[in-house]
């Protein structure tokens, strides 16, 4: 059986530091988002939800790309910690996709006048959410570890095709949603510098929160593997 002691020890060592860094960054980000950044000339203070919505959407992309990489890692090496990373990242990705959808919906009501509209970015994001809920469902219905990990890895690789579709949907189809303002093919960011700085700090804070949650969840999963292994060995 593959040992899980080394990755779990590493996770336990870095987790507290990630937690401290995440709390510090989240505090700075909250101050900048609510007090430091100026109101938008058109939307007033409503736009501030962007500092939750955009980092959540970014984390959803990041989390599902990590699922893809961990899935490739599992199929390639059969190291158990790759599977632990995949399940942890998928769960966090689903959580942040839901948060991005809810935050977007709260912003849409005063701006567009509706909670939901059938525009490409919203629909493809909702589809991505459903896909990864299906991924977690597939994992939960399988009891044998190797079978579950292999099937989930195949699905984790297949589903990543949707990530660029979500990001580029606003460019490919007629969309009500705002076009990309930071990651633009046609040059640099198109935001005011103080808003951009606040957004980047928020993205960094959310990324640290993701890293902390990932370390915590991977630790739990590896501990579960060790317990099952110990029970099997008598």
């Amino acid at each position: 059986m593959t040992t899980t002691t080394f990755p779990r020890a590493l996770v336990l060592r870095v987790r507290p530091w990630l937690g401290i860094a995440a709390i510090a960054a989240a505090s700075i980000s909250t101050y900048m988002s609510l007090l430091w950044a100026p109101p938008d000339a058109m939307q007033g203070d409503v736009y501030r939800i962007m500092y939750v919505h955009v980092p959540s959407a970014w984390l959803a992309y990041l989390a599902f790309i990590v699922v893809f990489l961990a899935s490739v890692g599992w199929l390639w090496t059969r190291q158990r910690w790759f599977d632990a990373v995949a399940v942890a990242s998928a769960e966090i990705g689903v959580l942040f996709t839901a948060l991005a959808l809810v935050a977007g919906s709260i912003w849409a009501k005063p701006t567009w006048g509706v909670w939901w509209t059938w525009e490409p970015r919203l629909v493809t994001t909702a589809v991505m959410f459903v896909m990864y809920v299906g991924y977690l469902l597939l994992r939960n219905l399988s009891t044998d570890f190797v079978r579950r990990a292999s099937r989930a890895a195949v699905l984790g690789i297949v589903l990543v095709v949707d990530v660029p579709v979500v990001h580029l949907s606003v460019l490919w189809m007629n969309s009500l949603h705002q076009l990309p303002t930071v990651l633009r093919a046609s040059g640099g960011p198109s935001l005011d510098s103080s808003m951009l700085a606040t957004l980047l700090v928020s993205v960094a804070a959310f990324t640290l929160i993701y890293a902390y949650l990932l370390a915590a969840r991977v630790g739990i999963e590896l501990r579960r593997h060790e317990r099952i292994g110990a029970l099997r060995d008598g």
Binding site: M131, V154, V158, D162
Partner: protein
């Protein structure tokens, strides 16, 4: 490899010819869905090119899931799956053979469903060649994803519910492209139908490469 793939696909089609329960179920299913959906939305709405296309492609996607599930059920009932997997290169041959056989079955189901839609809804086809092209590419784009998801859900409890949950979201781009492509061909927009055909071809290629590269690893 090609020989083994041909054997699996040929065996599948032979079994379907001797006992065509999967094919009959899929044809009956698509006919029923086309009738039911047209009745529910009303004949005036159902005759609109985009609506008629959507009804047909959604029905075909469900028929594909039904036919693929039935095909693997037959293997499980006969305990034939383990024997195929035990052969050298058996996993690859099983996946590719099933995809090939499902494509052939879907071509028949699609032809029946398409003719039914055209006749019952009295649709006028502006660009028949383009409609054939879109239909052929749509039939090519569906099976890889459907067989992939049936393989992933194989021998799991709640499989009947899991396969559509896994397959339908992944099929959304293909269904949108096939629906819009069909609507363009029906209404005489040659550029539109060719554009959507290219997208169908791209998705068929991407999922074929992904499927043939990684899915055999998930077959036990």
């Amino acid at each position: 490899m090609i020989r083994r793939l041909g054997l699996v696909a040929g065996r599948e089609l032979l079994a379907e010819r001797r006992q065509p329960d999967g094919l009959v179920a899929a044809v009956t299913f698509i006919a029923l869905l086309v009738l039911l959906e047209s009745l529910v939305v009303g004949p005036v709405s159902a005759r609109q090119p985009a609506v008629a296309g959507a009804l047909f492609w959604i029905a075909l996607a469900f028929a594909a899931i039904l036919a693929a599930t039935r095909s693997f059920d037959r293997e499980l009932e006969d305990d034939a799956l383990d024997a195929i997997i035990a052969l050298p290169g058996g996993r690859d041959a099983l996946f590719a053979g099933k995809v090939l056989a499902l494509t052939a079955v879907l071509a028949i189901v699609g032809a029946v469903g398409g003719v039914l839609s055209l006749v019952l809804l009295d649709l006028e086809v502006a660009l028949a060649g383009h409609l054939l092209l879109v239909t052929a590419l749509g039939v090519l784009a569906l099976p890889t994803v459907v067989v992939l998801d049936v393989v992933l859900a194989l021998r799991l409890r709640a499989r009947a519910a899991l396969v559509p949950i896994l397959a339908l979201p992944v099929l959304i781009p293909q269904l949108v492209a096939a629906t819009q492509g069909s609507a363009s061909a029906l209404s005489g927009d040659a550029t539109g139908s060719l554009g959507w055909s290219a997208l169908l071809l791209a998705f068929a290629f991407v999922y074929a490469v992904l499927g043939f590269t990684i899915v055999p690893a998930a077959i036990e």
